[in-house]
């Protein structure tokens, strides 16, 4: 357990709450939901865990008071996410997604939209939201929105009467199939770039023409659904156009850096779990007449893992502190996400090395840590974020 950072009484209380919640409601199911078959209907989704999180207020902790939260700052979110991801990254991501997606409505929605949809999040234990942006031909373009009008996102939007008709496909959509509301990004103006010519449409799951057509079967984060969505003449009334604006450029707004801090905190939770497991094992496993930590090669490896872990935690927590103070330093959040991804990859694979043959056995969680980490390097993070981080450095201070 690592508590090197000076936390307030309240932050420590949330850390304890998250630790105990994970121990009671996540640990008993983590291995089972990881191994279950991924299919339509989501038999492996942790619904009971979500209900329990709702019951104690964890699901809506990042919401304003009037919608059942306390507007938890980024450091509090990082502290909680770290504890949840230490036990299971998929459950941690389910909870943090409940904090993140509704921010679009909190910050950009109309009063009516906030009341309807945030009220549902507050009142209905399993109500969640999904952000539908990625399409089969529009992935990293989301991270690096090109200025060419023809580039990127294809989901079409046509005006009809007092509303809009959506047609197209979204895929890899987080919580797709589990969410009750989809915040769908669609093309409203093809004469300008994606960044300037798109709006967001609030589509409840039971809207005619909307359907979940597939669940993606991943090697990691298996209990965290990514779904494929189809839109066939889906009518969206104007009341469900986010903020009432057809072209809504949200870049650089209050959500800047949110994705990166969430990713970084989740990664560091997995990294800590892998490191502590490896350290415990190295103190117990005897080879050549002494514990393997007494062998220099293993001790050196562990020392470097500890170094990386502490460096990663320091960067991520410091960045969260900066964001919590009100300064959205996106260079720092990009750096945190990139570094945490590197650290978790190194620590989880080094932990496998220390466990030797046992590392790849399914009876231990080590191989799961590595599989979950692959999601950071391939689906959630990757070269696009590196390029975007570089672009940020090019900007004048």
């Amino acid at each position: 357990m690592m508590d090197e950072f000076e936390l307030t009484d309240q932050q420590k209380a949330f850390q304890t709450l998250a630790r105990e919640f994970a121990e009671r409601h996540i640990k008993p199911i983590a291995a089972e939901i990881d191994r279950m078959e991924v299919k339509m209907g989501l038999p492996n989704f942790p619904w009971d865990m979500l209900r329990e999180a709702h019951k104690i207020g964890l699901k809506t902790i990042a919401f304003p008071m009037e919608y059942g939260g306390m507007a938890a700052d980024h450091l509090t979110q990082v502290i909680i996410t770290d504890e949840l991801a230490y036990v299971d990254a998929t459950c941690a991501k389910t909870i943090s997604q409940c904090w993140k997606q509704p921010q679009y409505i909190i910050h950009f929605g109309t009063k009516d939209q906030r009341d309807r949809f945030l009220g549902a999040m507050r009142d209905e234990p399993t109500y969640m939201m999904a952000g539908a942006i990625t399409e089969p031909d529009y992935g990293s373009d989301n991270m690096l929105p090109y200025e060419e009008p023809e580039g990127g996102l294809k989901l079409s939007v046509k005006r009809k009467g007092d509303g809009y008709v959506l047609n197209g496909v979204k895929h890899f959509i987080a919580l797709g199939g589990a969410a009750s509301l989809y915040i769908v990004r669609g093309r409203t103006d093809k004469t300008v770039s994606v960044r300037k010519g798109t709006g967001r449409f609030l589509v409840p799951k039971d809207t005619p023409g909307f359907s979940v057509t597939a669940q993606h079967d991943k090697i990691g984060f298996r209990a965290y659904p990514n779904g494929q969505l189809a839109f066939e003449d889906v009518y969206v009334p104007k009341e469900n156009l986010l903020g009432g604006k057809e072209n809504y450029d949200m870049s650089g707004g209050p959500l800047a850096g949110w994705n990166e801090l969430e990713l970084a905190a989740t990664a560091m939770g997995i990294a800590r779990a892998a490191f502590e497991a490896a350290l415990d094992y190295a103190k117990q496993r005897v080879q050549g007449g002494k514990t393997i930590i007494e062998h220099q090669a293993v001790a050196g490896l562990l020392a470097d893992m500890y170094m990386d872990l502490q460096a990663g935690r320091s960067l991520v927590w410091q960045t969260a502190r900066i964001f919590s103070s009100g300064r959205r330093d996106t260079k720092m959040s990009m750096a945190s996400a990139r570094f945490a991804t590197k650290v978790v990859l190194k620590i989880t694979t080094d932990a496998l090395t220390i466990f030797g043959g046992m590392g790849v056995m399914k009876e231990l969680p080590l191989e799961k840590y590595v599989r979950d980490t692959m999601i950071f390097t391939h689906l959630a993070d990757g070269p696009a974020r590196q390029v975007k981080a570089g672009n940020l450095l090019m900007r004048p201070e």
């Binding site: 009484d9 209380a13 304890t16 709450l17 105990e20 919640f21 019951k55 207020g57 939260g69 306390m70």
Partner: protein, 266 residues
């Protein structure tokens, strides 16, 4: 229903025994610095029971503790779970108090809180395991008392209680107010909640001195002199293995029975 729950802040009973030593005078247990303090587990059951009764019938739950200022953490655990109020009686002037002393002081504090219908305690604290404070409070307040309670049902101005015995359980009805000590079979304590944590952050928990509740420290210590601690030590655990043989399984079983009888195991 107004409920007072007595809680004790104790070294984590889940900490390994190697983390504890006895002081040189043989009078005090000394936990290692890494051992955190927690609410005594049976006391958490008492908090949970109090909260469930409040949720079903209204009223309020007050958590009460005697101890140093660090015991505020135990009270905060209670308010973070949902207790309405908390009071600490600061007992810095006292040596490790005997249970009768603790009961005397807590009873005075409960009298000052006033308006109570029900007083709940854990069946015993996880540090000394004496199980004396609950009945001592009842004696001091001249109230009925039931120990090792595993179920509570509410009746009109009374409770139907199930309490564990060595060979099962007894059911009895008691009038209010009453003192109960609870066992872990009664419930699973809830986690703290976001709302409870927020409310506790802004709460100012009153800290009463012994004088505030009309307790003379010397008299309080005196009433605990019913027992004297001669010496405290960590028992040495010796494991000896004896192979009990026999030509046939029947003979071996007979030999085993004889050994167990001679060792007074059966």
């Amino acid at each position: 229903m107004n409920i007072v729950v007595c809680v004790k802040h104790v070294p984590d009973p889940e900490a390994p025994v190697t983390q504890f030593t006895v002081d040189s005078a043989g009078q005090k247990m000394v936990p290692a610095p890494a051992v955190v303090s927690v609410v005594s587990p049976f006391d958490e059951n008492a908090i949970e029971a109090g909260l469930q009764l409040k949720e079903a019938h209204g009223g309020k739950v007050t958590v009460l503790s005697l101890g140093p200022l660090s015991s505020l953490e135990a009270l905060k655990r209670g308010t973070r779970m949902g207790a309405d109020d908390a009071v600490l009686v600061e007992g810095n002037d006292l040596p490790e108090p005997a249970p009768q002393t603790t009961a005397h002081i807590l009873a005075k504090a409960i009298a000052k809180i006033g308006g109570y219908d029900l007083i709940l305690c854990g069946r015993q604290a996880a540090d000394w395991d004496q199980g004396q404070v609950g009945c001592g409070i009842a004696e001091n307040l001249d109230l009925p008392y039931v120990s090792i309670v595993s179920k509570i049902e509410t009746l009109e101005k009374a409770l139907r209680i199930q309490c564990l015995t060595e060979d099962g359980y007894e059911v009895m009805e008691v009038s209010l107010p009453v003192v109960l000590t609870l066992t872990n079979e009664i419930n699973q304590p809830r986690l703290t909640t976001v709302a409870g944590i927020l409310r506790t952050t802004t709460m100012k928990i009153p800290v009463w001195s012994l004088q505030d509740i009309g307790v003379d420290p010397a008299a309080a210590v005196e009433c605990g002199r019913l027992a004297e601690l001669k010496n405290l030590r960590i028992p040495e655990v010796k494991v000896e293995c004896q192979i009990v043989g026999g030509e046939t399984p029947e003979e071996a079983a007979l030999s085993l029975v004889n050994v167990l009888r001679s060792d007074k195991v059966i």
